[in-house]
Symmetry: C2
Subunit: 138 residues, 2 copies
DNA sequence: ACAAATATGTAATAGTATTACAATAACAAT
DNA sequence: ATTGTTATTGTAATACTATTACATATTTGT
């Protein structure tokens, strides 16, 4: 039986390297950017990155941004388990800044909708595109 | 000044061909699937498809499904203009069925959230993954 | 020690999207 | 009609993203 919580000490070598690359980045990274950063640590092929990413996403430590084809370290205390239905991102189209949030009100309306149309919701992809506060000011 | 409404009669030859391919499909198609279908009509290169898709998406006649890397004809009377903030999709992970919806309640909570965090929302990507009614029954 | 399961290495390939440049067609204004 | 302008199309090459297939190594449980 797999454990239901995960921290860095649970990770394999490659997973830890990828996790570290994402954690120390100030925003989302593409798989190939991660690969390039980890070549000095022995990475040679995309699959090494993709395999690690698969696991990290499964563990809830990393999120995939579908509209960017990129990955970002989770900034929440716990996005594991059920909260995959809930997490959402804002993406600034000017500066690229990405913010991770959970909105109870959004979750509620989505679950209500799903129930209404009898759709068995497993996971929500919610990516809000626009201009962030900082860029509006400037 | 560009017109604010678009129907098939406004479209260029390539745009019309791509629109027709998507309209007659019963679900989303990838750009390369469209290309293959249109080879018999003279299409030779991906760019012919992507250029048409760009315009069709801009017109609101076609939506891009980010989590599928695919495109689908709009099934709504009018998804043009402001409603890009509002449209959402359910995607059945079993049968691949895609449904396009607008939920006032979801729109409202998203706009409320955006206002709260002072994010200037231009467009929402909302793709709900799960199991559709038909597949639950079976 | 042994078997089973998990993780890793490597190469090849498949799938998605854009850049660059040339040619053509559509359109408006002389 | 001719010119200048813009939008559209054609084509090739390239870049970016992700998976399949197969071999090897490591970890885990007994
Ligand atoms: Zn998270
Ligand atoms: Zn910004
Ligand atoms: Zn629509
Ligand atoms: Zn289904």
């Amino acid at each position: 039986m797999t454990k239901h919580t995960h921290d860095v000490s649970d990770l394999t070598k490659n997973q830890a390297l990828v996790m570290n690359a994402l954690s120390s980045a100030n925003g989302p990274l593409s798989a190939y950017t991660i690969l390039d950063e980890l070549r000095e640590h022995g990475f040679r092929a995309p699959l090494q990155v993709y395999r690690a990413l698969d696991k990290l996403v499964e563990f809830g430590l990393v999120h995939r941004l579908e509209s960017l084809n990129a990955f970002v370290a989770c900034r929440h205390p716990s996005c594991e388990g059920e909260s995959k239905e809930a997490v959402l991102f804002t993406i600034c189209e000017k500066c690229g800044n990405v913010q991770e949030l959970i909105s109870e009100s959004v979750v509620k309306s989505l679950k209500g909708l799903a129930e209404e149309i009898e759709f068995s919701l497993k996971e929500s992809v919610i990516e809000l595109r626009g201009i962030c506060t900082d860029c509006k000011a400037a």
